[in-house]
């Protein structure tokens, strides 16, 4: 569904991503694991067109998307949930939804606020409240819900568990699993192996901008050497 081939991205002169390649099939949940600053967010932003890769190719459903503008990529069906939440603070929950809303793609279903409130029951009671007056966990739920309003086929989740209280993290995992059961394809960036284990089937490990490991979650859990080398527990 998504093929990333030898992506190189720079920040100014700093070479961040070095020949990053990924291969994600429809319906998979893939974890992109790595320490802080390893290049997880940069990979996601490069796929999303928010950063312009210097070289490399990104293909989505057989169509080349590298070089397209963000809004165009988003309209093809890739949803992006950024780290650090980035809700529209002055807008209410419903208004945040309205910004994320897209026309359904051919043959696709159309997401509605009512449906999302089933998935995120907390949001319903505060649908008219400005996002600035919500807790961190609620804001994180809102960014995911907002992206879902665009009916994405592939969802990029950038560290959804970061900075949340343990109880909220569990709730978050349950919600994402529920999402996964609807058939949506997931790429999840994480530092936390435990959280990734709850959700993902496959894992990539990225370190200093290079992919160092690729395999199933089970293989990774049995491979203490790789875990110790690249992940903090």
């Amino acid at each position: 569904m998504l093929t990333v081939n030898k992506l190189n991205t720079f920040y100014g002169r700093a070479h961040i991503l070095r020949d990053v390649s990924l291969d994600i099939s429809k319906g998979e949940a893939v974890a992109l694991l790595g320490r802080n600053g390893a290049g997880k967010s940069t990979t996601m932003k490069s796929i999303m067109g928010l950063l312009k890769p210097a070289s490399g190719l990104v293909e989505f459903e057989g169509k080349t998307i590298s070089g397209l503008k963000s809004y165009h990529i988003s309209r093809l069906g890739i949803g992006y949930v950024p780290e650090e939440r980035r809700v529209f603070a002055g807008l209410s929950v419903l208004e945040n939804f309205a910004v994320g809303k897209q026309k359904p793609r051919q043959g696709g279903m159309e997401q509605t606020p009512e449906n999302l409130f089933k998935l995120f029951p907390n949001l319903e009671s505060m649908k008219d409240r400005p996002a600035s007056q919500m807790s961190g966990g609620e804001q994180q739920m809102l960014t995911i819900a907002r992206t879902l309003m665009g009916n994405p086929k592939l969802l990029l989740l950038d560290e959804p568990s970061e900075g949340l209280a343990p109880l909220i993290v569990e709730e978050m995992a349950r919600t994402i699993l529920q999402l996964k059961s609807t058939g949506i394809t997931l790429i999840l960036s994480e530092q936390n192996l435990r959280f990734a284990n709850l959700i993902a089937d496959k894992a990539y490990i990225i370190e200093k901008g290079e992919i160092r490991y690729k395999g199933t979650m089970d293989d990774l859990n049995n491979n203490a050497e790789v875990r110790d080398a690249y992940l903090t527990l």
Binding site: L50, K69, S70, F88, A98
Partner: protein, 618 residues
């Protein structure tokens, strides 16, 4: 009692026009972060287009329909400007956006002149509203009442658009975080074009709506821009309610100012703004800039290290050429060179606070013109000799800079720029309105060098010597510990504070040095011309310096010299044509779109940088 009521109502009706125009500027800034300096031009355009559409019809439908259509056409012109010009500039530094919109002013000015001619046009009267209504025992023109009713309607309309439609939600979201809006599938180009249409539509509506009161003339663009800026800054950039309240405050101040202190009406407005900004640095309803999510900006550093750069030879060569010129004894060449040198000097003083200091000033002509006026007034009233005045002139502007700087360094970014503009306009209005002392529009004449400098060649060498000395001092300051501290404050005021730098003090000192130097440039300038007029302090003069920096490139320390020389030379040549503003405006726009780093930037960061990189990789 009744006269106060009348003044109050007239103030409210002026506030309507001001609000319509200012809300447009505020909306455009809020979303695109572009300070549209040409907003006054759209206001003017609205008036002219409305004039042509309405004609002398006394059909109310044609009158009101004409107003609306004029606003729509103005909005469409705005769309054209956005698509052709501004869309390419959303990612360049704000200075370039600003100068690009200055180019728009020049182009619209000449096009309006070409189409409608130079004569002031008398506006049509509103059918059915030509009489007066008795209110509180006084007669108030009924059209004023209509205007007073119009602006709350527009305010509510804008509010409904922003808070009750999806488009409004998109616009507000884009104001907070543009990148995120794009990642959610929203085409920003369309959104920004729409916003620009709305902003220019409102400006056009303001211009057309004031037709029955003020007609249309070619001075409307600069006439309203300062007031509009004041309203937007006082109300808070991006806040529509703020614009409404501020428009009322400013217009009422004007209306009552004329009643009590006729000569101070302009001054009052700027004083009010200064007071409000000191109490609330981001305006009545504005948000602090640091609260806003800014996309990370790459900023090249000014690397002026102790290393010997090839430029050092360039400097020596330049000075050698300048020293040789008088031998040829061609008078007009010397005059032109003096002007080029002094304006480059002026640009360099602005570069000092803008480049290393990161403080963009829209009102630097205050110190240049201030130095000129200080010298001229001393000559006129005390007949002091030149040797004394070359110290006294800059000393006066240094005191100005101390005062103005104390207020301005409390702000940053756009607010800093606006406040400098306001102070410059304040000084300009004092000079312009205080006829009895400054000569008003007629200026002061007969200011010639005294002593040995009466000889033109001596004066020439004096200019070259003082300018080179000053530029050398500025360079030394930039590469001194003070200069490093100044650049640290520019790059991150928070981190600078954290390591114990008194940011405001450093910036205040830099501002004062710059004011002193600009005053010296101005003092020499008045002697070279023999006369001084208020235009030397007006907005276009401040912009001259900004354009010179743009031409030369802000990132380069030689930028002001190259830019100043090229620009002065260009202006000297181009003003011989009839439509030179149009030409200059188009040149400015082309330059910004094609070479966003200026003339010297083409060399320093383009070719040379690439050669250096090649050298490193081998």
């Amino acid at each position: 009692m009744s006269i106060y009521a009348v003044q109050f109502l007239i103030g409210l009706s002026d506030a309507s026009v001001l609000f319509l125009t200012a809300s447009g500027l505020s909306i455009i800034f809020g979303v695109s972060r572009i300070v549209n300096f040409s907003h006054g031009s759209f206001y003017m355009l609205g008036a002219y287009i409305g004039y042509s559409l309405i004609g002398d019809s006394d059909n109310p439908l044609i009158f009101w329909g004409g107003l609306f259509l004029a606003a729509v056409v103005t909005g469409l012109v705005g769309v054209l400007v956005e698509i052709v010009l501004l869309r390419r500039l959303y990612h360049v530094p704000e200075l370039f956006q600003l100068i690009a919109t200055f180019g728009v002013i020049l182009v619209i000015q000449d096009l309006t002149f070409m189409i409608w001619g130079a004569e002031d046009l008398l506006g049509p009267r509103a059918p059915g509203l030509t009489g007066s209504i008795e209110l509180l025992g006084a007669l108030v023109p009924s059209y004023d009442i209509a205007l007073i009713v119009l602006s709350p309607l527009v305010l509510v309309g804008i509010w409904l658009l922003f808070y009750k439609t999806r488009w409004g939600a998109l616009v507000r979201a884009a104001t907070e975080d543009r990148e995120m809006v794009a990642a959610l599938g929203v085409n920003q180009n369309l959104l920004f074009t729409g916003v620009f249409f709305l902003g220019c539509f409102l400006a056009g509506l303001g211009g057309a709506a004031q037709l029955p009161k003020g007609g249309a003339n070619l001075l409307m663009d600069f006439g309203i821009i300062a007031e509009v800026f004041v309203v937007v800054v006082v109300g808070g950039m991006g806040s529509i309610w703020g614009a409404y309240i501020a428009a009322i405050i400013i217009s009422e101040l004007n209306a009552f100012g004329i009643l009590f202190l006729p000569e101070s009406s302009l001054v009052m407005m700027f004083l009010a703004m200064a007071v409000i900004l000191i109490a609330r640095p981001w305006g009545l309803f504005g948000k602090s800039e640091s609260m806003e999510h800014k996309p990370p900006s790459e900023r090249e550093d000014l690397t002026i290290s102790g290393r010997k750069l090839p430029w050092n030879w360039g400097w020596l060569l330049l000075i050698a050429v300048l020293l040789v010129i008088p031998w040829f004894q061609i008078d007009f060449v010397m005059t032109l060179v003096i002007e080029m040198v002094l304006l480059s000097f002026f640009a360099a003083t602005l570069h000092f606070i803008m480049g290393p200091g990161g403080m963009v000033s829209f009102g630097h002509a205050l110190f240049f013109g201030g130095g000129s006026y200080a010298v001229a007034l001393f000559v006129n009233y005390l007949q002091l000799p030149m040797s004394v005045l070359l110290i006294a002139g800059p000393a006066v502007t240094m005191v100005f800079a101390l005062l103005v700087g104390w207020f301005c360094v409390r702000l940053s970014g756009v607010y800093f720029a606006m406040l400098t503009l306001a102070f410059a306009q304040l000084a300009w209005s004092v000079v312009f309105q205080w006829d009895s002392v400054t000569g008003g529009d007629d200026g002061i004449i007969g200011v010639w060098p005294t002593g040995p400098a009466e000889d033109k060649i001596v004066f020439y060498y004096l200019v070259i010597t003082l300018t080179s000395l000053s530029l050398y001092v500025i360079r030394r300051v930039i590469s001194s510990p003070f200069g490093f501290a100044l650049r640290a404050c520019r790059d991150s005021s928070l981190r600078s504070r954290a390591i114990g730098i008194d940011v405001r003090k450093i910036q205040w000192i830099a501002f004062t040095i710059s004011g002193f130097m600009a005053g010296l440039a101005g003092s020499l300038y008045v002697y070279s011309k023999g006369s001084i007029f208020p235009t030397e302090m007006a907005i276009p003069r401040s912009f001259d310096a900004l354009i010179m920096l743009l031409l030369g490139g802000v990132q380069s320390p030689v930028g002001p010299i190259i830019g100043g020389s090229v620009y002065t030379f260009l202006i000297d040549y181009i003003t011989r044509f009839d439509y030179w503003r149009l030409l200059l405006g188009i040149m400015i726009m082309l330059l910004i779109v094609l070479f966003p780093r200026g003339i010297s930037g083409i060399f320093s960061s383009g070719i040379i940088q690439r050669i250096k990189l090649l050298g490193q990789s081998e």
